[in-house]
């Protein structure tokens, strides 16, 4: 079932018109034989298997690791479209950082009634440990993976801000690399903005947020929970590209509120930790005492200003889906501007009027748990059975404050290889926004995720989604 969606190539589904950025891709699709595509897709799969880029799926009995399907037809944005998105993303992330600095500082937005204080105070993601702690350079979200969906030619919505430890950037980089190997001719005929400089941009960002200190270069490390984490491949990939040490907790120790890394040359002081481990597990003396993945004393070193954690502790509060609903007001309050990117209109089930509307219209809505992520714990009304809807209604009635609901958005579609040939499939976009003390950096594009099942709107890789290379075309087409 394809609802009336904007198609990235044709504008309207089934239209014979081809939008300018796709003009020569259309020709490429028409001129390339099915056999060639089959061969290239096999090669792509071999490539991904060889580099070992896999994704562990929790709760999946069959195999703990699998490949995320890759689709060879790129998703294309015009430079002018991207420029708009980039402005909107910078505005949004600027507001996010100001919001976090405020709720962990003077709390002006709470006093002004922009966001209800109970929503912040009662949320365990609001880390009391961080109140009045001066984080280096006052930046909280150094890396955001903002999920953007398109519903019309000029209509972009932000679905989630992902301000904790967003993943997926390794796919953005690997997808480009495999496309350049398989279809070098495409990159001769198209001026595709490069993404290969992402590791440089990330390293520059991380170095820029080191605690202010003497002349030596900042020492940056990437802290991983270890090889059993679903994104471990990405952790090792990024550490390698950045040229920094990939460390686990046991490689680090804290002495006199300073963090050191054990090396063969003795202990080395660490200035910036790009941590891919959740707040709860990062320091057993501060958070979950049963965590064996954390560094004892790290939070004390952090609060003493001797190390930068990227992202900061406590950014999860802005990922809460109830807090999300206030983002347009947060953008206005902190930037003084109208938001460029829209928020999806959202019913907060904690409000009685919204609750009764949601319960009456479950069949048309998407319902999400406020604390959920990765497409888990979510109801897509139009695709759900009667029993699923009834089951969800019971859950919502039981704890309304745990849920929000949104209209079912008709995510844009992009031509994608399916069993039946090339067919439109729904896509989203996750650009990675890097906030340093000097500037905000975004490499053009991001990760495009695609729902491979016909009509499906769930693009999450944990739910059977795939990915595509994302092109921002310089100079028109």
């Amino acid at each position: 079932m394809l609802i009336d969606s904007f198609d990235e190539m044709n504008g309207r589904p089934g239209s014979a018109e081809v939008r300018p950025p796709y003009a020569s891709l259309r020709k490429w699709l028409d001129d390339t034989s099915a056999e060639t595509f089959d061969a290239r897709r096999d090669q792509a799969e071999h490539f991904f298997r060889r580099v070992g880029i896999t994704f562990a799926v929790y709760g999946d009995n069959e195999s703990s690791e699998r490949l995320i399907p890759f689709d060879v037809i790129p998703r294309v944005l015009m430079k002018s479209e991207w420029d708009f998105l980039e402005r909107g993303l910078k505005q949004r992330v600027t507001a996010l950082n100001a919001f976090l600095a405020d709720i962990y500082g003077p709390q002006e937005c709470l006093r002004a009634g922009i966001v209800p204080s109970d929503l912040i105070f009662q949320n365990p993601q609001y880390r009391l440990e961080m109140k009045d702690v001066a984080v280096p350079h006052n930046i909280y979200v150094h890396i955001a993976g903002v999920d953007v969906v398109r519903v019309g030619e000029n209509d972009f919505y932000v679905l989630e801000d992902n301000a904790r430890t967003p993943s997926g950037v390794s796919y953005m980089l690997e997808n480009r690399e495999v496309m350049m190997r398989l279809f070098p001719e495409l990159f001769m005929s198209h001026r595709v903005a490069p993404v290969e400089n992402y590791p440089d941009a990330l390293l520059a960002t991380l170095r820029s947020v080191a605690p202010i200190r003497q002349s030596r270069d900042a020492v940056v490390t990437l802290l991983t929970p270890g090889r059993y984490n679903s994104a471990y491949y990405e952790h090792s990939f990024l550490a390698d590209k950045l040229g920094v040490e990939l460390v686990e907790a046991s490689d680090l120790f804290v002495k006199d509120d300073v963090v050191y890394m054990r090396t063969t040359q003795g202990p080395t002081q660490v200035d910036v930790i790009y941590r891919r481990i959740d707040d709860d597990f990062i320091d057993p003396l501060a958070f979950r005492p049963d965590s064996v993945l954390g560094v004892p004393g790290l939070i004390n070193a952090y609060k003493a200003g001797n190390v930068t954690l990227a992202n900061a502790i406590g950014t999860g509060i802005s990922d809460d889906k109830a807090v999300y609903t206030y983002m347009p007001d947060i953008v206005r309050f902190f930037t003084g501007q109208e938001p460029l990117l829209q928020n999806v209109p959202t019913w907060r089930c904690r409000e009685p009027d919204s609750l009764s509307y949601v319960l009456d219209n479950l069949g048309e809505l998407v319902v999400k748990e406020v604390a959920g992520s990765g497409g888990y714990g979510m109801l897509v009304g139009p695709h759900a059975t009667k029993a699923e809807i009834e089951d969800f209604a019971r859950k919502i009635r039981h704890s309304p404050e745990g849920f929000i609901a949104q209209p079912t958005l008709s995510l844009s579609t992009c031509p994608t290889f399916a069993a039946s040939g090339v067919a439109p499939r729904h896509v989203d976009l996750r650009p990675f926004v890097l906030s340093g003390s000097d500037e905000i950096r975004i490499v053009p594009g991001g990760l495009t995720r695609v729902a491979l099942k016909e009509g499906s709107l769930v693009v999450n890789s944990s739910q059977g989604g795939g990915t595509k290379d994302t092109w921002v075309l310089d100079g028109g087409s």
Partner: protein, 277 residues
């Protein structure tokens, strides 16, 4: 009353342990009804002791041992002068917004049973103070003191289902129920001169505080069925026991450990208490 307190926590490791770091919440602060006359922390190993305060305003010491240690005793010792304030906590350091004390944690989550139990304790006229008194009485009745079946990680729901527990469990159930009723509540760790008199105690004490409109924070000790008296010494607060725990530690190596507490709370010689006798 002037109370003299000696609180020794002794860790014994199977093998020498390295990189020992301990977070100590073992030092009381001054507020109405409580004046710390003298207090010190004595770690029984070479190392570094620094002091500061945490986000709740608790005094926190961090102890890091220099060398491997197989046997480590941490002693807190001092004297505190107390007076009767009917359990009302005034002039204490408050750093966390009151609304945060409505947040539930893993150990203080109210399950169906605790929610139903809490509902029955509501005061007919909707007043907070009588509700909290009802709740204290009900928790005292619902959970019989028994050291055996629960541990430091037992949740309120588990203890309530068992009907057995220690002061930590009674306090967690009280807090879970109060928060369910919309009353901010928090955990207190501290000391008490037991009603039966001076004895060797094997653990510190714990109770709860609830926020009462126009009155502020008021203590409730469901174990002893009383609001805190001059026999209570208040040391640290938190959302639950894990945040107010007297000692949280980490180490490398060492194998298994045993922990033994020797605690005495007694009227100080020459103190007011004795003169009244």
């Amino acid at each position: 009353m002037r109370l003299q307190i000696t609180h020794e926590t002794r860790y014994t490791y199977e093998q020498p342990a390295r990189s020992i770091m301990q977070i100590l919440r073992l030092t009381p602060r001054n507020h109405d009804g409580q004046h710390v006359v003298r207090w010190r922390i004595e770690p029984g190993a070479e190392g570094k002791l620094t002091s500061g305060s945490d986000h709740f305003g608790n005094i926190v010491h961090v102890f890091s041992a220099d060398e491997s240690v197989q046997d480590l005793a941490i002693v807190a010792v001092g004297e505190v002068e107390t007076s009767d304030v009917a359990g009302i906590v005034r002039q204490a350091v408050e750093r966390v917004p009151d609304g945060c004390y409505l947040r539930s944690t893993i150990s203080t989550e109210a399950d169906e049973a605790i929610r139903a139990f809490a509902e029955k304790q509501r005061d007919g006229a909707g007043r907070t103070l009588p509700t909290l008194h009802n709740l204290m009485e009900a928790v005292h009745g619902a959970i019989r003191f028994d050291r055996d079946p629960t541990s430091t990680s037992t949740t309120a729901a588990e203890a309530f289902a068992l009907g057995l527990g220690v002061c930590q469990d009674l306090s967690h159930v009280f807090i879970a129920a109060a928060r369910h009723l919309g009353i901010p509540a928090r955990y207190v760790s501290g000391y008490v001169l037991p009603p039966e008199g001076v004895v060797m105690q094997q653990a510190g004490h714990a109770w709860a505080e609830g926020l009462v409109p126009d009155l502020g924070w008021v203590g409730f000790d469901p174990t002893h069925l009383t609001c805190p008296t001059p026999s209570h010494v208040r040391v640290a607060i938190g959302l639950d026991s894990s945040e107010a725990a007297p000692i949280r530690g980490s180490r490398r190596g060492g194998g298994g450990e045993t922990m033994a507490v020797r605690l005495t709370v007694e009227p100080a010689p020459g103190g007011q208490y004795q003169r009244q006798e």
